[in-house]
């Protein structure tokens, strides 16, 4: 039990997937428009992360290890994540059209989101068992969503008071650097 709590705290604060490991920066910079978009992107990442982690766990443990083909893990990860994102996009287009339109291009972009693929491959390289894997996946997605929400709230306020040459992406990257220095304090 105590190692689960350790995993939760480490993956949300000390080794946050965006601010410490620097994976998934595209949605971070792309969520500068609104806070609701940030939450939407975070929930998509959570769902894709969870389902693909579970699938890859079983495929790796029972198929790839037994047949000595562990070199296939990267490409099978990409294949499964792309398939899952397509399926989720089709289902959302049919049932929840308004959410689908408000997410726009960021739903298909979770295919190439390094945060999803990084979490899946980190599960494999850290040799977690099933419960630890689920806890790690959920808590790193929650850390992702938290940072995205904080970031979009800060940018909303800051964007009004900066010179016009800094508006948009320049101030976003500066704030990302400052925020990651803040989160560095958790790891000491």
């Amino acid at each position: 039990m105590s190692d689960l709590i350790k995993i939760i705290i480490v993956s949300i604060f000390a080794q946050n997937i965006i601010l410490s490991k620097n994976l998934g920066l595209c949605p971070l910079v792309g969520s500068t428009n609104s806070r609701k978009n940030a939450l939407g992107i975070g929930i998509c990442v959570l769902i894709v992360n969870l389902i693909s982690s579970i699938l890859i766990y079983f495929i790796y443990k029972y198929l790839l290890v037994n047949t000595n083909t562990t070199y296939l893990k990267t490409i099978i990860t990409i294949l499964l994540i792309a398939t899952l994102v397509q399926i989720i996009e089709i289902i959302m287009k049919k049932r929840f059209n308004s959410i689908y339109k408000s997410l726009g291009i960021y739903l298909p972009l979770t295919t190439t989101n390094c945060a999803v693929m990084g979490t899946v491959l980190l599960n494999i390289s850290n040799n977690y068992n099933f419960i630890q894997m689920i806890v790690f996946t959920i808590s790193s997605s929650i850390g992702f969503m938290l940072v995205l929400y904080i970031f979009s709230s800060i940018i909303e306020k800051v964007n009004k008071n900066v010179p016009s040459c800094f508006k948009g992406y320049p101030v976003a990257f500066i704030i990302a650097g400052i925020t990651s220095m803040i989160f560095m304090n958790f790891s000491i």
Binding site: T83, Q86, K94, N97
Partner: protein, 86 residues
């Protein structure tokens, strides 16, 4: 050799799954489009009723032009609401 087999099989399974899900015909958008059509059931489009037009317009949005009572503004509204892709 075994690696090729594994990758091919997984690719097939993923492709067939996507195909099965996209052919699922329960689509809530059909009812919404049907509500936005004029509702006269005049068969000017050739599909029998406004529901038939909505069923076919999901697949091909240019068929909406066949609806004679549909005004240009409403047509643009339907296109913007359901077929707008970024």
């Amino acid at each position: 050799m075994i690696g090729i087999l594994i990758l091919t099989t997984l690719g097939f399974i993923s492709g067939i799954t996507i195909m099965l899900i996209s052919n699922d015909s329960s689509n809530i958008n059909i009812e919404k489009i049907e509500k936005m059509l004029p509702g006269y059931n005049c068969n000017a489009c050739g599909f029998g009723s406004c529901k038939g037009m909505a069923n076919n317009a999901i697949k091909d949005k240019t068929l909406l032009k066949k609806c004679r009572p549909l005004s240009k503004e409403k047509y643009q509204e339907i296109i913007k609401e359901f077929f707008y892709e970024k």
